[in-house]
């Protein structure tokens, strides 16, 4: 029984990453109708940013949590301004292909300079050690990951659904012309939204650096699971992505206990089932 709880807790930790990443993807898709294939590469850039901030300036983890999302967010906004804008009126498939190409470039460049193996990033001193929960010994850092992701997810949801700024963002994507008539700078909103989504990915990267080592390919495997999460949760729904992210992490943990061979495939099987029954996802708006 202890083993089951232990796997569920590890699943919850993984779920935190899924939730944070799918949140960024959902924000970008929900607001901009762009499938951001480069999300995994930007997550990786966040982790590398934290590594460089530490090695070049000596500023530690806590600073990196703020600096890395800002730097990578700005990079994302530059990408949006220079490239994604050109595709504004075209078929959404072009956006998918463009971001796929961008992911290849970013990952390839990092792989060339840093190899495929990981660079170490230490757990910050304040979060070292662990607590004995009875059924397992939980490293404090991993507990922090769960709490921090929950806070960030809820804060983002609140920002988008409940504040005025969020209302402007949502209106700008539903009816840009009308919103522009009110004097609101719609292109700037769009760029900011993309930056926010990218910043969330980078934040997840910093959070993951002490656990997963800083590797150029760290985004590649997780991004497809996150796509499945977003599809299941409903492609534009913020709350749907958060809940599904955590839930899927827990389901994966359950599968690892009862039927380990299927733990990789359970997410995709679930996605196929959901799509057959409810094509817009569990809480999604109509396509």
């Amino acid at each position: 029984m202890a083993a089951l709880y232990a796997q569920l807790l590890v699943g919850l930790i993984n779920g935190s990453f899924y939730a944070l990443l799918s949140l960024g993807l959902a924000v970008i898709f929900g607001m901009l109708n762009i499938i951001n294939f480069a999300h995994g590469a930007l997550y990786m850039m966040g982790a590398f940013c934290a590594y460089f901030v530490l090695s070049l300036t000596g500023l530690g983890y806590w600073w990196a949590l703020i600096i890395a999302p800002i730097i990578v967010g700005i990079f994302g906004m530059v990408l949006e301004r220079t490239m994604l804008k050109w595709l504004a009126g075209l078929d959404h498939l072009y956006g998918l292909l463009l971001t796929f190409g961008l992911a290849l470039i970013i990952q390839g460049v990092f792989q060339n300079f840093f190899g495929s193996s990981g660079l170490p990033y230490a757990i910050p001193d304040e979060l070292q050690g662990g607590m004995n929960l009875g059924f397992m010994y939980l490293p404090i850092y991993r507990g922090w990951v769960i709490i921090f992701s929950l806070v960030v997810c809820i804060a983002t949801w609140f920002l988008i659904e409940k504040t005025r700024l969020g209302a402007y963002l949502r209106a700008a994507t539903e009816n840009p012309t009308l919103v522009r008539a009110f004097g609101i700078n719609v292109p700037r909103m769009i760029t900011l939204t993309y930056g926010l989504g990218v910043g969330l990915a980078a934040l997840a990267g910093v959070l993951s650096a002490p656990i997963n080592q800083v590797r150029p390919l760290m985004g590649e495997n997780v991004i497809i699971v996150v796509f499945a999460v977003v599809v299941i949760g409903g492609m534009g729904s913020i709350m749907g992505s958060i809940v599904t992210g955590f839930a899927l992490g827990v389901i994966e943990g359950l599968t690892k206990y009862f039927y380990p061979e299927a733990s990789n495939t359970v997410v995709f099987v679930l996605m196929v089932l959901v799509l057959l029954v409810k094509p817009t996802g569990l809480t999604g708006r109509a396509a």
Binding site: I35, M83, W86, L87, L90, D91, H92, L93, Y94, L96, L97, L98, F100, G101, L102, A103, L104, I105, I106, Q107, G108, V109, Q111, N112, E220, I224, F227, A228, V231, M235, E261, A262, N264, T265, F268, V269, M271, V272, L275, L276, P279, A287
Partner: protein, 339 residues
């Protein structure tokens, strides 16, 4: 439906004759390769990928459906054919994780190819049924996720040997007398396979079925209002595309003599999209040219390590932003002919 193929020129009766002439030139050039100094192994690989890209193009260029999971057909054709050639036993699952094996001796090349293609066809029927319900980006996402599902299944299935792949696949004698370990013989067999697949696609595009498909791509609502069951046509196109992709995978196994996870990865699906994009979506010869360009680049830039990935990414971005018609598409537009 999609703006990806808005620029294709309408086919005229003269166009078909033009295309047949280009086809004849292509066939002659390719037949002459063993007499030049070009490394035949590289050309054979390029031919397999060219057929794969043409099969993919059938779906996107004429059906308007971007599949981001075509690697699953390439891999299935390869693994099944490789397994039949090396081991022969057929394992059927009767419960997740439990298999029931019929021991057979290793198959002959032609039976193995038929087997591999048949299994790919079956996979295409199943995945097509699930995916066709959606269009546009949703369709792309579903095919992506399905191909990841297949990847993880192959990672764990015992017959694929996971990370190690199926190695040392024997080449055997095709039809009893064509010795495939002779490079020249193998080359002509692969070439015949490629030309046959290409002609099949060509025929499909220029048939009533192809016309309906194109009309669905242009305006699905109108096609429905005319009484066509569009879902059936799209599913048929998907099955044909997947089967031919599996056939390309089966051929590739004879060339490489191994079947591995690289053939089922997302990166491979992306590579297929890239080849077709570079060559020209919706053109007849675009995918062939695109495949040769990309394979040549991988071959001759292999010493540059991961810069090849970066260059592929740059080409992707450049094609999407500036160069949407692709190489053959641009040439066709200049010459105002359908290529």
């Amino acid at each position: 439906m999609t703006a990806l193929t808005d620029d294709t020129l309408p086919t005229t009766p003269g166009a078909m004759r033009d295309e047949m002439i280009v086809f004849a030139i292509m066939a002659v050039l390719l037949a002459a390769v063993p007499f030049t100094g070009i490394y035949p192994f590289f050309v054979m690989q390029a031919l397999c990928f060219a057929l794969l890209a043409c099969a993919f193009n059938l779906l996107i260029g004429y059906g308007g459906l971007l599949s981001f999971g075509h690697a699953m057909f390439l891999g299935t054709g390869g693994y099944v054919t490789g397994h039949f050639l090396k081991v022969g036993a057929i394992s059927l699952p009767y419960w997740p994780g439990m298999w029931f094996t019929i021991p057979f001796p290793p198959f002959s090349p032609e039976m193995a190819i038929i087997g591999g293609t048949a299994v790919s066809c079956l996979l295409a029927v199943i995945t097509g049924y699930v995916s066709i319900r959606r269009q546009g980006i949703y369709f792309a996402m579903i095919t992506l996720a399905l191909s990841q599902l297949i990847y993880f299944i192959y990672l764990q299935a015992p017959f694929t040997h996971g990370e190690d792949g199926i190695q040392g696949i024997p080449q055997g004698k095709m039809l009893g007398f064509l010795d495939l370990s002779n490079t020249t013989v193998l080359y002509y067999v692969v070439l015949v396979g490629f030309l046959a697949g290409f002609l099949l696609i060509f025929r499909a595009i220029n048939s009533p079925f192809g016309e309906v498909l194109k009309s669905i791509r242009e305006n699905e609502q109108r096609a429905i209002s005319l009484g066509y069951k569009t879902d059936h046509y799209k599913l048929l196109a998907f099955i044909l595309s997947g089967t031919l992709a599996g056939f390309a995978g089966s051929l590739k196994v004879f060339v490489a003599q191994n079947a591995s996870l690289t053939d089922v990865e997302v990166a491979m699906s992306g590579l297929i999209v890239l080849m077709t994009l570079v060559g020209g979506l919706g053109t007849v010869f675009g995918p062939v040219v695109g495949a040769f360009v990309i394979i040549a680049m991988q071959q001759y830039l292999a010493g540059f390590g991961q810069w090849v990935t970066v260059i592929q990414g740059v080409i992707f971005v450049a094609c999407v932003l500036l160069f949407r018609r692709g190489l053959i598409g641009e040439i066709a537009h200049l010459l105002k002919r359908s290529l």
